[in-house]
Amino acid sequence: MKEIILKVISQPTVGLEAENIAPKVFACKSSMEIAGLPIYEGNRERRLGDFFDVSGEAGEAEAETRIVIEGDVRLTKRIGQGMRAGEIHIKGSAGMHLGSKMRGGKVTVEGDCEAFCFQEMRGGVVHIKGNAGNYLGSATRGNWRGMRGGTITVDGNAGSEIATFMKGGKIHVKGDCASFAGVHMNKGFIVIDGRAERRIGAEMIGGTIVANEVEAMLAGFKPVETVKAPEIESEKFTGNYKKYSGDHADSRAKGTVWVKIQ
């Protein structure tokens, strides 16, 4: 795999839209060509090279291309949108819509990511070493088909409404999770190692959530049983867990939430 390095020169306050920062677009291009790619600063079309020093070499194909971003790109949106293969490594924090509709490949973020990242993801592997913003791995506005595949791991905390309308794949949050984790979830798997704020699994009709601790369970969740060291979605968990079914606010509810008994 070959590597292109983008070093941040500046980040304009109005932000950038940079769906062109993606392995598929970079593949087979020279660093000069890459620096010449359009990138959008508000309503102005600019060049990627105006904001990033480009070095290295892109691969012959999407799968052969790794992009390393050095610096903080919190204000750059849409990096890796729709990627199917290849790799993106951000050595800082990432902006909105990172990896949205991603189907494959690998994304690593050393810092945090903003809201609306990895929406409607279908495949690939994501590792966020800092915190993730609201709507991580969720559906876009109005869509009832959210994340369908792939895995996202967050070492820190995650914001509210992660995995809305989830239909598959896995999200693992090693820290805490704000409210409405897995709202309207249908299928898929969420694991929260820390504490989940209230309204976890709200309006879920399917899928599975495991949490170490919850602020409160909604009335629509019915305790089913207590299980010692359960195996959930082929993963082993240690300790005692209380299993709930819900959210029975919806008559079709077939979701499951497991909460560790402290």
Binding site: P12, T13, V14, G15, E17, Y40, E41, G42, N43, R44, L75, M96, A115, F116, N134, Y135, T140, R141, G142, W144, E161, S179, F180, V183, H184, R198, R199, A202, E203, L218, A219, G220, K222, D247, H248, A249, D250, S251
Partner: protein, 434 residues
């Protein structure tokens, strides 16, 4: 004396269209049928010292300028900006809103309305789960149960209950009030709660839990003895009223959209209403605040596909509230100019958002002095829509009504639409010249 009948009140989303206004020598003498709010608006037409001339901020405060100069300044500000925000639009007519949308598209900006800090969450909820609704005449003719949740019409929509819900006689409700039951759900015992048959005092921020409890019970599940500060038996008995009525209505206000959970409160409430349709006829209507905030979302939707928070910076409409809405854009510092029409964000936005507004180039079209005219660099006063200018407005239930003109604006004042058209023309001139 001129007597104008069937006048439309340009105040709240109830959009009463039965006002009789008496005008003598350019003064409003009376506004019959209007509520306190409407009356105050009509009477404010007699205010002295209205600004006629645009004002521009200089080193020593504001100085007067010509409309031509003001138009050119706004046009330049918009053309120079990389991401201008065009905000407001709830208190002007659809014809002006339409020009505003064209202007936003032309300058590649973001256009957003007061909906984003009012019923925007309701729209997000509708987009997730739908919107079983009716026009207000259906309520008047059929409803035997009206629920006001997180809304206080006695204060915000004073004639709502007398025109449509609590009091009127309808085709199938000949006895008026006697045929109807009213439930109020709120965090305080509001004045509206005072005239309700049943009041549920929900603990602040727990509305979602309460809806969840209603739905769970409705679906045959069980709930704890108390949810959201309300005893199970009270929840159950309110639910029984909902299930057994012939035609139920849920009117919900910003008490739900502004509380923790925001759009999810509405999302779940809508689902409750959908569920209730298995038992009886049940619908809902949001209590929209400003008289034409609904009209703006209609016009923007048929023109762009999306109802508020539309970002045209890429030349096509993009919509993602939470990203493309005003409070984020301002508090994240993502916009570099603000143009306000028919709104008062300096009064209505949290301080952090206003801080950025105060820093960047800004302009406002507004008939009166407001915190926003105080903070903006340029003010263009305009004629008052719905009184001095005719045009379309949409009621809270999306019914379009043509507002009447009942008096002339003071000489020298233009309508919002005319000013916007001048700016649009100037923008095109500048762009073509550049």
């Amino acid at each position: 004396m001129e007597i104008h009948t069937d006048v439309i009140c340009p105040f709240c989303g109830t959009l009463c269209d039965d006002i009789e206004v008496h005008v003598e020598n350019g003064r409003v003498m009376e506004a019959l049928n209007a509520c306190k709010l409407g009356n105050a608006k009509f009477m404010s037409m007699n205010k002295k010292n209205r600004h006629i001339v645009p004002m521009v901020r200089g080193e020593d405060g504001f100085t007067e300028t010509t409309i031509e100069d003001a138009v050119e300044r706004v046009a330049r500000m918009l053309v120079d900006a990389k991401k201008p925000l065009l905000y407001g639009w709830a208190t002007t007519e659809c014809e002006a809103q339409s020009v505003g949308i064209e202007l936003a598209e032309e300058v590649g900006g973001v256009i957003d309305s007061c909906a984003s800090v009012c019923h925007g969450p309701s729209v997000l909820a509708i987009q997730d789960v739908g919107f079983p609704s009716v026009t207000l005449g259906e309520v008047k003719n059929r409803a035997d149960l009206d629920i006001y949740w997180g809304s206080n019409p006695m204060h915000a929509h004073p004639r709502h209950m007398s025109r449509y819900s609590r009091y009127p006689r309808g085709y199938f409700r000949e006895r008026g009030q006697q045929d109807r039951t009213v439930i109020v759900i709120d965090v305080r015992r509001t004045d509206t709660a005072g005239i309700a048959d049943k009041f549920l005092q929900v603990s602040p921020g727990d509305d979602y839990e309460l809806v969840n409890a209603f739905r769970t019970l409705l679906n045959g599940g069980d709930i704890p003895d108390e949810v959201a500060g309300i005893a199970k038996k009270d929840i159950a008995s309110a639910l029984e009223l909902m299930k057994t009525c012939q035609f139920g209505m849920l009117f919900f206000g910003v008490g739900l959209t502004m509380s923790p959970g925001k759009h999810r409160n509405i999302d779940n409430a809508i689902s409750l209403v959908v569920d209730l349709n298995k038992y009886t006829k049940f619908n809902l209507i949001p209590m929209r605040g400003h008289y034409n905030v609904t009209g703006f979302s209609e016009v923007l939707t048929w023109q762009s596909g999306f109802p508020f928070g539309v970002d045209y910076t890429r030349g096509y409409p993009q919509y993602n509230p939470g990203e493309t809405t005003s409070v984020e854009l301002l508090s994240r510092g993502e916009v570099d100019a603000v143009f306000v029409v028919g709104s008062d964000p300096a009064a209505n936005f949290p301080k952090k958002a206003v801080e950025h507004l105060a820093k960047i180039p800004s302009a406002v079209i507004e008939p009166h002095e407001t915190p926003t005219t105080y903070l903006c660099d340029l003010n263009i006063p305009s004629a008052i829509a719905g009184i001095e200018v005719e045009g379309t407005a949409y009621r809270m239930d999306n019914v379009p009504i043509r507002m009447r003109k009942i008096m002339d604006a003071p000489a020298g004042l233009y309508s919002d639409r005319e000013i916007l058209e001048m700016i649009l023309l100037k923008v095109r001139e500048i762009k073509n010249g550049a």
